[in-house]
Symmetry: C2
Subunit: 299 residues, 2 copies
DNA sequence: TGCGACCCATTAAGAGAGCTTATGCATAAT
DNA sequence: ATTATGCATAAGCTCTCTTAATGGGTCGCA
């Protein structure tokens, strides 16, 4: 196929020169010197095989060929720059967030509405697939994942550390006359006792580790489910605090101890470094960091 | 104004890559390496601010933004290459000849039909203005002018030398019993005796120069008119032979002597060197040189 | 599974297109 | 005449773009 295309820079210069009927004016518009315009036009004329301008004393005028060529060229460039501009700005119109399920259900679901209020022009799409998103393979703008914040090529902002601590319903606490010290928890049903977080937390609390052994594993695989069970009074769950500030504030859960486990991980906002300034990404970043600030302050 | 246009080379590459859904294929089409395509696409993606392709294992696929952009871009390029192609070939569609009146009326008028028969696709426009055409100021393809063949920047082909010699109608010659020697001409009416050509020619013929003095100046300013007068038997004209081979062949004029004046000038086909290979110019050049060959051989 | 084929990304180095500066020339305006 | 304007041209340089070589990832085949 290979349609022989004209030298594009020359064509662009021609378009401007034809519009202005002046090399000097075209040079101004294009931000180059008059000499460069002259050079490009000459080049194009050689390629076309016929003059495009007549050099008159203090002006240039299009030849027949030039006149025939100019309108199509202008139209083509209009099309091009429109497509380009719309791609540039249009890229702000959608935001695809790939997030771990935990974060989506425990935090994002309750807060994303605020983002959409502030940026009504941005359509949000959530992708809660569990695999680690590869930005070069999938059409995703930002990701939220847990880890240590070190991913090559990705910018990462810490949202909060994954600090875990036991939580239970006030009613359940009351059923044993209140939870005064960590060992009290052992009187209750432990949700997902196999979770390493329990082991670590009891260690921090100076409770012998063997106390968990032999308990039936009730792992539900998701904090959301364990939280629901805890709220229903079915046991004590060990949860990430930041996800449940709301439940605590509303009294549906209580956090008996100000003691946190911390495995050094955290939840991070990530996106390709190179896209740091994309409008939609910038908007989301600024919003979520502000939101975190506010939440942690309020909680 | 100054719509920010995208980097055009990158856009061209994008267009091809989008069409093929492959960088490698696009590279082949554009005659460059795959690496260059990759580079240009990356460049464009940075400018646009969002990926245009998703890099999948053995293929690339357009992102939403890319899909939105591709059709307009393709259309724009189609427009562009059409305009360019039509300018390229369309430039062969017209041939504007600037020629001195003498040549137009005495030679071209009778022969141009043969050119149009051979190149029916080329519309011929004649411009017989008398001033020396400036190819950079006027929309003229080729010129025919007399001179010494030296014009800077112009290619020049000698059509014929301006050799002049007396001519008259056979009937007029008979009226004085035939023209046997140059001096016999003095018995007849000399058309435009003030023309320097007469002086030169009689000098070549060893006829005293004073013989022309005192004759009324009948200058008509154009060989065509003088030739018409000669054919009508009104006198002897001194004419450029090449223009009247036809009249001689048909017996309407006779050339009594094989003696030619020659002021070193000639008629030349000229055009800008740079346009030597323009299709219309090439066609005309080849035709007129062949025609000259044939005429001088036949005459 | 392991190997080869295919496709894209990346890097460094080199070539060359195209820009700028400076100057010249022609014409129109003053 | 003199000045101002607009384009052409030459030389030199910059920086974009290309090439070449290499690496990584996946699919297909045995």
């Amino acid at each position: 196929m290979a349609l022989q295309l004209p030298p594009l820079t020359a064509i662009r210069v021609f378009e401007a020169a034809a519009r202005h009927a002046s090399f000097t004016k075209a040079a101004e518009e294009l931000g180059m010197t008059q000499a460069a315009v002259s050079y490009q036009i000459k080049l194009l004329e050689e390629r076309v095989g016929t003059p495009l301008f007549l050099r008159r004393p203090r002006q240039v005028v299009l030849t027949e060929t030039g006149r025939r060529m100019a309108p199509s060229v202008s139209e083509a460039f209009a099309l091009l720059s429109e497509a380009y501009a719309s791609a540039r700005s249009g890229s702000a119109g959608t935001l695809c967030i790939s997030t771990v399920l935990t974060f989506a259900s425990n935090w994002l679901a309750r807060h994303i509405g605020s983002f959409q209020m502030r940026h009504p022009g941005i359509a949000v799409r959530l992708d809660t697939s569990s695999h680690l998103v590869d930005f070069s393979r999938e059409e995703v703008d930002v990701g939220i994942r847990s880890g240590d914040g070190k991913w090559p090529g990705l910018a990462a902002h810490l949202l909060f550390r994954a600090q875990y601590t036991p939580m239970l319903s006030p009613k359940l606490a009351d059923s044993i006359g209140g939870v005064k010290e960590p060992a009290d928890l052992l009187k209750l049903n432990i949700l997902d006792p196999g979770d390493f977080w329990w082991t670590r937390w009891f260690a921090l609390a100076n409770v012998p580790p063997e106390s968990l052994e032999g308990r039936p594993d009730t792992s539900m695989g998701s904090q959301a489910y364990e939280a629901a069970a805890a709220i229903a009074g079915q046991g004590v769950a060990i949860l990430t605090r930041a996800f449940f500030t709301n439940e605590i504030a509303e009294g549906r859960l209580i956090q008996p101890f100000d003691l946190f486990g911390d495995d050094g991980q955290g939840y991070w906002l990530v996106y390709p470094e190179s896209r740091r300034n994309a409008p939609n990404i910038r908007a989301f970043r600024e919003w979520i960091l502000a939101e975190m600030e506010q939440t942690s302050a309020g909680g």
